[in-house]
Amino acid sequence: MSKPKFAMYWGASCGGCDIAVLNIHEKILEVDETFEIVLWPVAVDAKYADVEALPDGAITLTLFNGGIRNEENEHMARLLRRKSQILVAFGSCATEGCVPALANLYPRETLFETIYAGPSTENPEDRRPLERAAVPEGELHLPKFYPTLRTLDQVVEVDYIIPGCPPESRQIAAVLDVVFAALRGEAELPPKGSVLGAGISTVCEECPRKRDVKKIRSFRRIQDGPVDPEICLLEQGILCAGPATRDGCGALCPLAGAACIGCYGPSEGVADYGARLMSAVASVIDSRDPEEIERILDGIPDPAGAFYRFNLAGSLLRRGRWTMDGRR
Amino acid sequence: MAHSPTPGDGLSLLEAVERKTPIPSRLEMCIQCGSCGGSCPSAADMEHTPRAIFALLRAGMDESVLHSNTPWICVSCYQCMVRCPQEIPITDIMYAIKNIAIQRGAAHKEEAAFSATFAEMVESYGRSFELGLATRYYLKHHPLRLPGMAPLGMGMLARRRMDLKPTRIKDVDGLRDILQAAREMEAAQ
């Protein structure tokens, strides 16, 4: 009997997720043993055409990381959806947009301007990519660059979600164990739509820092002064996203003395990550005076970045509002 | 002396005062408690206590207010203001009444003249000039008092506590432009 098929593919992402999967140590051998890897650009040499040739539903498990930024991403998402029995949105980009989705704050034109005419780009002829270009050899075609980045589940239906930027390797390993067991008929897969490799609470659950009733009189950054190693960062005025961020990472950042920045995304059932975090943080501001409140809030200079760093594409608004001249 | 006309001449005095006072006058909040009149160091010389002035203002007895010596006797000590239970900016209201009295020509001429002379000095030099102020003002308004003042002046001069010539600031023209613009702004209200 032939081995079940496995694929891993990337949309708009940084590649960190692939590394995280490779980082599961010996278990990677088990992957190789259990599966026939039909597509995984980082690890194996396979052709799109081979995948296209497979019958629908031929791939047992696909881990899709990265968001949908262009035509090619979308094409592959649809293709892999058709070919896969289980499609997993893997990592923050696929599940909520992640840092690439911060580009949703700007229109395409501004992005191109920054990329192709920015100070770090040498482009003396000021060229822009063309979707179609006639060259002597024939017509060249580049995938269309969409106005916004969308999450995988905004384009195709997904079966499971594994959050994290990237997902923690030990969590990936644990999820794979469940899959292996299920393939062996020893366990049942969790209900469709579940979030895997993470908890149902938030980072504070795993964070060992001492905490008390919160009262914020001012915000500061970790570089602004000494940080107490034992006490909750938020209580020290450091905007820690831990209370709103799904647990599962092991509270790595707060353990290391840095504020959680929210890569595991919203907790179970939360409709808008940023709104939740905003609501929580604002609720514990210790003032009743509008002017004073404003003064305290001055300590959060970039609210969109602070509250939607990972979740802009997954939020209710999905993006910033822009005009055609690129002003927000 | 140049000065701007009262904002919206033809307003009731109460309204005019309310507009001239740089922070809300709160005159409608006065409970006629008399803390102001009780506190005022110069109340004995006033025709009306500040409280009474406010009652007159609210009663629309504008002439009585404009001709009262009260604002001119006010030494601007703010004693009333810090004791007013309603936090009415009494001293600022006294200034407002003086502004309007001058502009409506109802002012106590001598007192107003002193202020005016002072203002002229400032506009000419950018600084006040005590000797000039005193001589000019007394010559014009109290020539008889002048000799009585002489020993004082001599004492001051002897101790070099009074300058014989005025000091002029460098950018006197800039200052005049500012004041001119300010007057226009006041008039445009």
């Binding site: - | 000065h3 701007s4 740089p22 922070i23 110069s42 004995a44 001119w72 006797i73 030494v75 601007s76 000590c77 703010y78 004693q79 203001m81 810090v82 900016p89 001293t91 200034y95 407002a96 502004n99 001058i102 001598e110 007192e111 107003a112 002193f114 202020s115 005016a116 002072f118 203002a119 000095m121 400032v122 600084r127 006040s128 000039f129 005590e130 003002y137 009585g148 020993p151 004082l152 004492g155 001051m156 101790r159 070099r160 506590r161 009074m162 300058d163 000091t167 600031i169 950018d171 800039g174 200052l175 432009d177 500012i178 004041l179 001119q180 613009a181 300010a182 007057r183 702004m185 006041e186």
Partner: protein
């Protein structure tokens, strides 16, 4: 210690020369740098405000604009004259409270190429700086000739502590800052109930009779409490009490002869500085006799029993309520 911008006011180099001299001397002793504002203009005293509103605030604000421009790291603008201090801080406050006044004043300032954003500066009186930034401990350390035996009436006048918006200076009626400072110099400070009563201000010019009465009360009070001299913090108060004392005597047939010195002069004396360098002798009512009380090395003469004592000793009669000061001693 940080540098301060100084707004000296029109009397600084004339009628208040003693104030200027002694302030200079004392600040040198304490290592306090006062940088004089350049090309400042008159604050308008109480007169300009009587004439017109917007021009008056524009006049004052020109100084604020200059100071903001020249501040160069010094956020604090200090004025030794209570009236200048009030006018400057009041303009800053009203411009902040009243946006339309702010707009007009700034439009006027524009005509002179200037601008002032209210709240830019911290405006404080010299006494406040000496007391709160330099501090009593430092001052005490500099005292080499304590003013023991010199009975001083601490007199603040009205405009230092009033009006009291933004709690700009202690209590509007009974501030005790000057008392503390003089005590630190070793002086016998009398509990002078008239310390914030008005000196008559410009009334000496336009309504002398009103002013003389106010001056009489102050002098009478000082005499009642057996003060050797009055310590003042404001050139206008000094001028009125000193220069017009003679007129008051003539007017009422009294024989007051209470010298009026600037608190900085007393600081200088306590610091052991030369009287002349402090402008002593520039006063019209001579301070020689009063200063004799500290001039000699012998301990001060035993004090006459104080008739003015108001607080009953604890054991007699009914107990008195305790006061916050009681806890301090």
């Amino acid at each position: 210690m940080s540098a301060y911008l100084l707004y000296p006011g029109c009397s600084w180099d004339s009628s208040a020369r003693a104030y200027a001299l002694s302030t200079g001397a004392v600040c040198r002793e304490l290592g306090l740098e006062l940088r004089q504002l350049e090309d400042w203009n008159c604050c308008g005293a109480t007169e300009y405000l009587s004439v017109d509103t917007v021009p008056a605030y524009a006049l004052i604000s020109r100084n604020l604009a200059l100071a903001a421009r020249q501040q160069n790291g010094a956020k604090t603008l200090t004025a030794p004259c209570s009236l200048c201090y009030l006018n400057l801080s009041k303009a800053d406050y009203y411009l902040e409270e009243n946006p339309s006044l702010n707009e007009k004043v700034n439009r006027a300032l524009e005509a002179g190429g200037m601008h002032y954003q209210p709240g830019t500066l911290e405006i404080r009186h010299l006494l406040d700086i000496l007391l709160n930034d330099v501090g009593l401990d430092t001052i005490r350390r500099h005292v080499t000739r304590p003013l023991n035996g010199l009975r001083v009436a601490p007199y603040l006048g009205c405009l230092l502590s009033r009006p009291d918006y933004r709690q700009r200076f202690s209590h509007p009626d009974q501030p005790h800052e000057l008392d503390l400072l003089l005590k630190a110099l070793g002086a016998d400070v009398v509990d002078y109930p008239l310390k914030t009563q008005c000196c008559g201000g410009h009334m000496t010019q336009i309504g002398p009779n009103t002013a003389y009465e106010l001056l009489r009360r102050l002098l009478h009070g000082a005499e009642q409490y057996k003060a050797h001299l009055i310590a003042t913090v404001c050139p206008m108060c000094q001028l009125n009490l000193d220069a017009y004392q003679h007129d008051v005597n003539r007017h009422f047939g009294t024989r007051f002869a209470t010298p009026v010195l600037y608190f900085t002069q007393l600081m200088g004396l306590a610091f052991g500085l030369e009287p002349k360098a402090l402008g002593i002798g520039l006063e019209l009512v001579g301070a020689r006799e009063a200063l004799a009380h500290i001039g000699v090395e012998t301990p001060p003469p035993a004090q006459a029993p104080q008739r003015g004592r108001r607080r009953k000793k604890k054991s007699e009669g009914l107990p008195m309520p305790s006061m916050p000061e009681d806890d301090q001693s």
